[in-house]
Symmetry: C2
Subunit: 148 residues, 2 copies
């Protein structure tokens, strides 16, 4: 679907243009989120990082993710369950479908959502900057497994 290589260069360019350095550690993290199909958690990114940089600190992961949030190149997802997840391929708001049993996170889009957003702005007078729309339930796999 997406082109990890292009996405990687895209993020690098944004960071460079804003005067940030592309260090080996950052490059490694960028590769991870650029190639990620799903929505990795901090812990998952941390584990992958340690493959190339065994001495990586969790603090570095958090700092880099915060930086990416600031420059708008990653979308942070935080549900009730502890631990944020990150989307490095679609850094703009979009709907997600989450399985409450296995934790799968799917990307979706919805044209109607833009309309709802405008409707909300009109009705409330708000200047809406972003939104989050999450659907929770059981994925087909977990439905087969039955209740329990």
């Amino acid at each position: 679907m997406a082109d990890p290589q292009y996405r990687l260069e895209q993020i690098i360019k944004v960071l460079r243009d804003k005067g940030h350095r592309i260090t080996p550690q950052r490059l490694a993290l960028l590769k991870i989120i650029a190639k990620s199909e799903g929505h990795p958690s901090v812990e998952q990114i941390y584990e992958q990082m340690k493959a190339d940089f065994p001495t990586t600190s969790l603090a570095t992961i958090y700092k880099t993710l915060t930086l990416l949030k600031e420059v708008g190149e990653v979308l942070e997802l935080n549900f009730a369950t502890a631990g944020s997840h990150y989307d490095g391929n679609k850094p703009y708001p979009h709907p997600h479908v989450i399985c409450t049993r296995c934790g799968q996170i799917l990307d979706r889009k919805s044209v109607a959502l833009a309309e709802i957003s405008q409707e909300m702005a009109r009705l409330t007078g708000y200047e809406i900057t972003h939104h989050q729309l999450n659907f929770f339930g059981l994925c087909p796999e977990c439905q087969k497994a039955g209740p329990g």
Copy 2:
């Protein structure tokens, strides 16, 4: 809009029917969330509780809110910012509009949302149980105050 007294009795009945006791502390908390127009935080509920029960423990607040979640009589809102908020009047999923500056939380509804939910279920095969839809931005008041 809503009738706090009726809402209160409604919650009491659900708790009683499921074999839970209506203690003085619980009754006090129920009154607080039944009459609340907004979406109080744990800390706000805690402060109000201390008016009637100065020795109330935060643990009791959390336990009671967890109980109310379990019986489906309160909706928990958790955004990125630390600290959950609770809606005791509309315990079912519905859209919220949140000001990122002053923290105001508005209730809204959207007919299109039900359709989107069904669309998601159809496209993904998920059995969707609930959702969350939050819009973030600046309320009219905070817009006047200007950037900064």
